[in-house]
């Protein structure tokens, strides 16, 4: 581990504990992420299961896989991957997320290597992974092609990357900006810049130009009746996810 809880100033620990509790409160500030998380995990786990010939019905099915979670936040994806047996590195550009995520992993009895770093810095350091989770990040970066190229370098040959983002059309403006930020207040105003949203075809082109082989795309669709998200084969009109492989 890059940093253990014992090296943190005790005065800071109380603050981090409160922040960890906030990150992991399913009814709190990060409620929209918690609501979407089962659907994201369904997609990710099934892609990994199929590509690496694993069986999710067994104990610790991802044992032996090295997984990088970019933009790990409080560890909402890192912890499930560790629980499934993977060796997980969680990276976040926001320094204060790292001790928070670290603390929660320890409370959960999990070992996760959380680092304050970026995809580019990890790639420069020569780190390599079987799987890179690149979820809801690409719409926030200034140069998507450079960023995805760094992601490709982070993959071992034959490695898999899931990349999700938000489509750019009239519906996504209504749903993701007006709905999620202005009406539901699920996200702070200004979280997303609609102009930085990417269509699935644009993302496939970017992935190919970055040297990756995109193999799958699916929608994440919110159902206001069941109040839950599900994976859709057809509806990629707002939130969607892709899987790409690094050629061997």
């Amino acid at each position: 581990m890059s940093q253990s809880a014992t090296t943190i100033d005790p005065a800071e620990v109380a603050k981090f504990e409160a922040m960890a509790a906030e990150w992991w409160d399913p009814t709190g500030k990060f409620k929209p992420l918690h609501l979407m998380n089962p659907c994201r995990l369904d997609y990710i786990t099934r892609q990994i299961e199929a590509e690496f010939d694993r069986d999710l019905t067994t104990d610790r099915p991802f044992a032996g896989l090295r997984i990088l979670d970019i933009g790990c936040g409080g560890g909402l994806l890192s912890e499930p991957m560790a629980r499934l047996g993977a060796e997980v590195v969680g990276a976040d550009a926001a320094p204060r997320n790292i001790p928070v995520a670290q603390l929660h992993a320890e409370q959960s009895g999990l070992t996760i290597d959380y680092r304050h770093t970026t995809a580019e810095a990890l790639a420069d350091a020569g780190e390599q992974f079987d799987v890179v989770l690149n979820m809801e990040v690409v719409e926030h970066v200034s140069d998507p092609l450079a960023y995805l190229t760094a992601c490709r370098k982070l993959l071992k040959p034959g490695g898999l990357m899931t990349c999700s983002t938000i489509n750019r059309n009239a519906k996504s403006f209504v749903m993701a900006i007006v709905g999620a930020e202005w009406v539901m207040r699920w996200l702070p105003k200004g979280t997303h810049d609609w102009n930085k949203f990417i269509t699935p075809d644009e993302l496939f082109d970017l992935l190919r130009n970055a040297g990756l082989d995109p193999v799958d795309r699916k929608g994440f669709v919110f159902n206001p009746v069941s109040w839950s998200w599900s994976v859709s084969d057809r509806d990629l009109s707002v939130n969607y996810v892709t899987t790409s492989l690094k050629p061997r």
Binding site: P26, H34, N37, P38, L41, D42, T45, L56, T57, T58, D59, E79, P80, M81, A82, R83, L84, Q107, S108, G109
Partner: protein, 406 residues
């Protein structure tokens, strides 16, 4: 002892079914009951039996009980519903539900309690992921990422979460501070099994009598299970009679269409009540079966509702486990609560209103319900809906109730 994924308190039918559903899907389960399995295993017929809805039977097959129950169930091929008064015979307006009206085959299956119990114990015994423990739970707690229970001999057990399958008045639910809402009906169900001269043809009968409903449910051979409701004082008086006196009260209630009858097993009484836990979940805790709800047994929905809980909870937990989620977290358990509590409240209210409507001797209400029955009988679509609901084929069905393995 090692920590497991789930501790189930209560090794009755719901607790056993949940242990198998979870164990078969790869979770490690500790099943705690205050009685040893050998004591719960009984070979002689004690008169108790269940009407399994279609979905329930599919669940039992999905958790591997099919072979053990093979040849020991009686399919219910039709249900005749009549409105009557003792001594007057059935009202000319009556409903006949026939399984030919739904595509899925019989409307349900009758199975004796002993056969179900034996089938469960045989499957659980030696299961690689189920540990059976005999003991009385005296305390439980949830802290951090684990739940624990303490047994009366001081043994402590640990798991990611705890399931209360410990019946009506669940001590586990009470300890967790989960209160119940509900009421008694002032009625008691008298339950027994009878042997009769004439074959039943697989037909179940439900007579709605002013003191309460009388159900005759077909068992294998020339035997039937009787569920007969009387006001509390009258039920206590009849239960206290000897067998001859008991039968003398029973005979005129459904006439002679099955020939002469004799008792075939012990007699039981169950006070009728409706109660619903105010929450089906607590800290790293979920309630199933009678611990969560008790519905009026008028339509035989008690065990079926419990098995729906089992199917929904097993699916929620197994799916969460395969995603790598912490299965005891509040947001995971809340999925179970949202799935089941509304459904159960609806069922409780529906069976309650059916009972209130039919347990009434007011001539106006009698006329209205006779017409009500006549109207339902005249509308095939509505009837099919009622049959499918009674057979457990409606709603957002958990995979196990569809007969699919998790």
């Amino acid at each position: 002892m090692d920590s497991t994924d789930v501790i189930i308190v209560g090794g009755g039918l719901n607790g056993s079914a949940l242990a198998l559903a979870l164990g078969d899907a790869g979770l490690r389960v500790t099943l705690v009951d205050r009685l040893a399995a050998s004591v719960r295993d009984s070979d002689s017929f004690d008169g108790r039996s269940y009407a399994l809805a279609h979905g329930s039977f599919r669940l039992l097959k999905a958790i591997g009980l099919g072979p053990a129950l093979d040849g020991k169930t009686q399919p219910i091929l039709g249900i005749k519903v009549s409105d009557g008064r003792a001594g007057e015979g059935a009202s000319p307006l009556h409903l006949v539900f026939d399984h030919a009206e739904i595509e899925e085959g019989p409307m349900g299956w009758m199975v004796e309690d002993r056969h179900l119990r034996q089938a469960f114990l045989a499957r659980i015994d030696g299961h690689p992921r189920i540990t059976q423990i005999e003991g009385t739970v005296t305390d439980h707690a949830a802290a951090g990422n684990a739940a624990s229970v303490t047994l009366s001999d001081g043994t402590a057990l640990h798991a990611a979460m705890l399931v209360a399958a410990d019946g009506v008045g669940s001590p586990t639910a009470r300890r967790a501070g989960i209160t119940r809402q509900g009421w008694r009906y002032g009625q008691t169900a008298l339950v027994c099994a009878i042997e009769h001269d004439q074959p039943h043809g697989g037909i179940a009968h439900q007579f709605f009598m002013p003191p309460g409903p009388l159900a005759i449910l077909p068992l294998p051979g020339n035997r039937s299970s009787i569920v007969w409701t009387e006001r509390d004082a009258e039920a206590a008086r009849i239960q206290a009679l000897d067998d001859a006196g008991y039968l003398a009260h029973l005979r005129p209630r459904f006439g002679s269409f099955l020939g002469d009858i004799a008792l075939a097993g012990a007699r039981f009484t169950y006070p009728l009540e409706l109660s619903l836990a105010r929450s089906f979940t607590g800290a790293r805790l979920a309630l199933v079966g009678d611990a969560a709800h008790r519905v009026h047994p008028i339509a035989g929905q008690g065990l079926n509702a419990g098995l729906k809980d089992v199917a929904a909870l097993a699916e929620v937990l197994v799916d969460a486990r395969r995603r790598g989620e912490d299965i005891g977290r509040a947001d995971v358990l809340d999925r179970y609560q949202r799935w089941r509590r509304f459904d159960t409240a609806t069922l409780a209210l529906a069976t309650d209103s059916i009972n209130r409507l039919f347990s009434n001797d007011n001539p106006l209400v009698r006329a209205a319900r006779d017409i009500g029955l006549g109207v339902v009988g005249a509308l095939p679509g509505l009837r099919r809906g009622l049959i499918r609901e009674a057979a457990g084929l409606t709603g957002d069905l958990p995979r196990l109730l569809q007969g699919r393995v998790l």
